[in-house]
Symmetry: C2
Subunit: 206 residues, 2 copies
DNA sequence: GAAAATTTTTACCATTTGGTAAATCCACGA
DNA sequence: TCGTGGATTTACCAAATGGTAAAAATTTTC
């Protein structure tokens, strides 16, 4: 019993669970939850379908496991935004990390986007448990910076939304972006310059 | 033959096609293309499944028809951005229209988002035929404004991406936004103020 | 190296789902 | 009002899909 058991997982178990989750990330991020099939995941993982179900309780279990495991990685850039240092540089560094993450982990970005888009039917507990507290904490931090006169008055929540939206856009809407950016050699670099300029100007004191 | 025919559609045909498309918009935007079923659409439309297939050639036909018909509405705010008037005000008015559209037509926003997210498998021709030319035209317009010294130097393409991303975010990620904005009475109003401030500052001459 | 435990495969199954054929219903103009 | 063509329903079907049982193969343990 490789899943819910209390025993420590064997080497084979760790390897296969990892292989399955990686294949599932691929398939789920490309086709969404309903659009993905166990057969596709099995083929991508190089395992048989029943073998997949030997390691996970079912399709939903794979999806939920993926989302849970990814949540930490996903929130890490925001965790790294600390009270020390210059507020503007802290926030701009966050923007940079978030944009880098959109480039390096587009599958993860699309997986989350698809889940949220459909009302987060399988992720709401994770959102409330992990995202919400972190979000509130960082909003409070930004509010402090504003009170101290180190940032212009602004709504921290909408600032964070704008950072999420503009950075993840390059992963989630990659199809559209590359269609419209044809001829551009390095979209990521120009996007980074644009966002740096935009948010620096927005965050500068009048 | 109510679909591909050359005859003019009867009143019943127009009504039922409209009812079906509205139901399909609901279902597709909530569950994505693969997640939506003809039975769901039929139930939502108050018609039987074979009756639905009497008006459309199949599931994909409904989806493609929806996307095509919506494209014009969707691009309208950008069409309205004209060379006359102050550049900053023109762009800010565009931001406002786009945000209003996200509030008034969230289903449409999510439908497009889901389609792009999965690589636009059923919309690429529409994108190349309608979106791309309009995008290029408006980028050229913004570039002109910059050359005239009426806007600071910036990349028009990334500016438009940022406008799309920040406004559509409130529709596409509504689940997340409302979870994190609990206690806010009017998210739309505060979002409007935030985006107005942010883009006005970004577009102001140094 | 045999027994025990774990892993993988083979052969299925029930349900869902997109779609069809044909019979039936019904609105409307002559 | 009656016939006709458009509209709707009933009864299906084939393929896809999530999942299972049990045998077979493999690895691990003693």
């Amino acid at each position: 019993m490789p899943d819910g058991s209390t025993k420590k997982p064997s080497r084979i178990q760790r390897r296969n669970r990892r292989v399955i989750l990686d294949a599932a990330l691929d398939v789920f991020s490309r086709h969404g939850y309903r659009g993905a099939t166990l057969d596709q995941i099995a083929a991508e993982a190089g395992l048989s379908k029943p073998n997949i179900l030997y390691y996970f309780d079912g399709k939903e279990d794979i999806h939920v496991t993926l989302l849970s495991q990814l949540m930490d990685t996903w929130l890490d850039p925001l965790v790294e935004m600390k009270p020390d240092g210059d507020p503007v540089e802290e926030i701009l560094a966050y923007v940079r990390r978030k944009l880098d993450m959109a480039r390096e982990l587009p599958r993860e970005s699309r997986l989350f986007a698809g889940e949220i888009l459909q009302g987060a039917p399988r992720m709401r507990p994770e959102l409330e448990g992990h995202l919400k507290p972190l979000f509130d904490e960082k909003c409070a931090l930004i509010a402090t910076w504003i009170e101290q006169g180190r940032l212009p008055p602004l709504d921290p929540r909408h600032l964070i939304f704008s950072i999420w939206a503009t950075t993840q856009h390059y992963a989630d809407f990659e199809t559209q972006v590359s269609l419209l950016m044809d001829g551009e050699s390095d979209t990521h670099a120009s996007a980074a310059r644009h966002l740096e300029t935009m948010f620096r100007k927005f965050l500068s004191m009048p």
